[in-house]
């Protein structure tokens, strides 16, 4: 056991702090691609704080991967509450996938503008009839000369309304077994035949969209991996996505905000933190946060030392999102009637973020593999329990 990062890392921490101090006024507050956001992203990449380990020839900073360096940078930006640069599905999911499975030409063409925030991506994955059973997706692409012709519909497509490009799963081999008939295409959202309709969620935001494809023509070479290998490519992406949901350090920062709320707000003139029932619920949440942070330390350490902790990693999405949802829900409960205030209204606390996050995390419990799918994964792959027997098709093939 040794929880220190070692003296060789202290210099980096000092350097990151100095950078943040010097430049924090230039950091954007929010926004996807205003000039300030793009300038900030460029500065972060040049300084080695974004796209740090992406090779220089693909527009990154080109540092050797070092988990602790990345961790320190993330910690410092988080604790200063300064934007650590752009995220989104292009940067967090497509770029790692292209690095792993893309052609040289694809890497050179797509990765640099994606990193700079000039090429925004959305993910064409789920369909109305293919949610948890994603591999049954039906959007099809047929080869016509040198082009794929795409027809079908996607749903839950975040940022489709802003996106320049989409990475999309389509069925190209209708007669193959369902997992072997899928391909992974990249195409511009400006291609004729694409219609985007916003999908308003319970939070009130159009977080998602429906996307319709009618005879969308995609150049043949804009495929990642081979024909019929899209499921394998997609799973390499899912690995990148699942790890990022339910991050215990983000949960800790929300926990701290909840403590502040309970110290500040009063009912009948008494601070909420002084109510023993509410305080006990707060402490229960803190215990769970501490357990997940310890689990995260174990995962960090096992990555550093190349050891395995598969179960510890498999449970993060399930436990992390459920914990976060419970935490946000506790904040609503401690606020009582004030907890239901939402939108532009007097007495709103913390900008309505507690209700928003409470609802948003219910979305994350469902998205990215529902809690029920997570339990299948944990029991089957983690505990070695048998799969549900296949039911013979009622349609008779």
């Amino acid at each position: 056991m040794d929880l220190s990062y070692g003296p060789e890392y202290q210099a980096l921490r000092t350097e990151v702090r100095a950078f943040i101090d010097k430049h924090k006024d230039q950091a954007p507050r929010a926004g996807l691609r205003d000039t300030q956001t793009l300038a900030w992203q460029r500065l972060l990449i040049e300084s080695g704080y974004a796209a740090r380990t992406i090779p220089k020839e693909y527009g990154g900073y080109g540092a050797n991967p070092d988990i602790l360096e990345s961790r320190i940078i993330a910690e410092e930006f988080a604790s200063a509450r300064v934007s650590s640069g752009l995220g989104g599905q292009g940067i967090s999911m497509l770029v790692p996938t292209l690095l792993e499975l893309g052609t040289e030409a694809q890497k050179k063409y797509f990765i640099p503008p994606t990193l700079r925030g000039e090429m925004v991506w959305c993910q064409g994955y789920s369909e109305p009839g293919a949610g948890s059973d994603l591999a049954s997706l039906r959007t099809k692409a047929e080869l016509d000369g040198d082009e794929w012709v795409v027809n079908g519909q996607k749903i839950w497509t975040s940022t489709a309304q802003f996106a320049d490009w989409i990475f999309c799963l389509v069925r190209t081999e209708p007669n193959a077994p369902k997992h072997q008939g899928i391909s992974f295409l990249l195409f511009s959202m400006k291609t004729p035949g694409i219609e985007v309709r916003p999908l308003v969620t319970m939070t009130g935001d159009a977080t998602f969209n429906e996307v319709f494809f009618t005879d969308v023509r995609v150049p043949k070479h804009q495929i990642v991996g081979k024909r019929g290998e899209g499921w394998f490519v997609a799973n390499s992406i899912l690995r990148h996505e699942r790890g990022s949901l339910g991050d215990p350090n983000a949960t800790l920062s929300r926990y701290n905000a909840l403590v502040e709320l309970m110290k500040k707000e009063t009912v009948d003139g008494c601070r909420l933190i002084d109510d023993p029932l509410l305080r006990d619920r707060l402490m229960r949440i803190q215990g769970r946060v501490m357990a997940m942070r310890a689990n995260d330390l174990r995962l960090l350490s096992s990555k550093l030392n190349n050891t395995q902790a598969p179960l510890a990693s498999m449970i993060v999405k399930l436990e992390g999102t459920e914990l976060r949802h419970d935490l946000e829900g506790l904040a609503i409960d401690v606020l009582g009637e004030l907890g239901v205030l939402y939108g532009d209204t007097p007495y709103l606390k913390d900008g309505g973020s507690w209700q928003y996050q409470y609802m948003f995390f219910l979305g994350l419990i469902i998205g990215g593999g529902t809690s029920q799918i997570q339990k299948n994964i944990i029991s089957e792959r983690g505990l070695g329990m048998p799969k549900e027997p296949k039911i013979a098709s009622a349609k008779g093939g």
Partner: protein, 362 residues
């Protein structure tokens, strides 16, 4: 940066596990529960030879000189195999108190004999840890003590660690004048407890505990050990539930293939897996992070109590009717977890202590 077990720690745990797999477990626990004896001296001596009794005692006093994280790993193994052996008081709380707060003479007198397995030292500190009930409490007058202490751990013992109302720790021999002990029968037949009554019983203070927070540090160490014991017992219950569900057939298929059953197992694993890291962290904090140790011990004990309770119930349910029988014996783990939950502070009480430690109570 390394958050995990060293190869020495893994070897220690493996060797204890190997021994307990052959010499503890259900048959042993059942035999102990139904025998008239309240001690299993054979198991205790064997554990002493493996270094369990002197685990944290320094080598100068005949011990192995390991740390509290190592002790937590052993506690986890003992819980896993529901071992009917003294540990939390005898191997951890009493030696820790003696080493940190005892006089040289006290150390010389007790530590080598504890390490060798020649004596057992219990701890009767329930009132300090969890509050006084049933009129319990100790009054100290000069060098003698009067009153009663409930739930003496690792009893019957040759001596007991006790605490005065002001937090001073004392060691009292079981044979001391005016000390009477009677057993309290609990759900957990693997670890007997007793009530001690004192009438002008002569006692000896551990000098280093006077006016210090030594009592709290000893209690925190005990709490982490009980949390580790629950981790081991709950892990075993989950293993048994998975094995049973993978073997038992109903409706023509393994019941483990039903999501209604496998999801229960997934929920247990998801709740329990972070507990392993939490216990490691708490054990390490006792050794190396003094400013976090108390908070971490309180939360770890409370959290393991909640997860342990959930696993104990759920793993029993996965076994169906068999889970409820004495024949299967799963209840020995269920009861061990239930016992740990209440000893040295219930979860509510410990969460309150955690809040106090962070100045969240006005």
């Amino acid at each position: 940066m390394e958050f995990g077990l060293s190869s020495d720690q893994q070897m220690l745990k493996d060797s204890i596990d190997r021994y307990l797999a052959d010499h503890a477990g259900l048959t042993k626990a059942r035999g102990f529960a139904t025998s008239s004896s309240s001690r299993d001296d054979g198991l205790r001596r064997a554990l002493a030879e493996l270094g369990v009794c002197g685990l944290i005692i320094d080598e100068a006093h005949g011990g192995v000189g390991l740390r509290l994280l190592d002790a937590a790993l052993v506690a986890e193994s003992l819980g896993h195999y529901i071992a009917p052996a003294p540990f939390v008081a005898n191997s951890v709380m009493a030696p820790l108190a003696l080493m940190r707060a005892g006089s040289d003479a006290q150390k010389q007198n007790w530590l080598p004999r504890i390490a060798a397995g020649e004596v057992v030292v219990g701890a009767a500190v329930a009132e300090s840890a969890a509050g006084a009930r049933e009129g319990a409490g100790l009054r100290v007058q000069g060098q003698s003590i009067t009153g009663k202490a409930l739930f003496a751990l690792d009893a019957p013992a040759d001596a007991y660690l006790i605490a005065g109302a002001n937090g001073t720790l004392y060691l009292v021999a079981a044979k001391a004048k005016g000390l009477a002990a009677r057993p309290l029968s609990t759900i957990d037949k693997t670890r007997p407890v007793m009530e001690l009554t004192f009438h002008g019983t002569p006692v000896e203070a551990l000098p280093g505990s006077i006016g210090t927070d030594m009592l709290d540090r000893v209690l925190d160490a005990g709490r982490v050990m009980l949390a580790a014991d629950t981790l081991g017992a709950a892990s075993n219950m989950l293993d048994q539930a998975v094995a049973y569900a993978n073997e038992r057939e109903q409706f023509g298929r393994k019941i483990g293939s039903f999501q209604a059953v496998k999801h229960l197992c997934a929920e247990m694993a998801a709740a329990l897996e972070p507990c392993r890291s939490m216990v490691w962290y708490a054990g390490f904090a006792l050794d190396a992070l003094p400013e976090e140790a108390h908070l971490s011990a309180c939360h770890t004990k409370a959290h393991l109590a909640e997860v342990g309770k959930f696993v104990a119930k759920t793993a029993t349910e996965v076994h169906g009717g068999m889970g409820f029988t004495d024949l299967l014996g799963l209840h020995y783990w269920f009861k061990r977890i239930g016992f740990n939950r209440q000893m040295l502070g219930s979860p509510e009480r410990l969460r309150e202590a955690a809040a106090r430690a962070q100045s969240l109570i006005a």
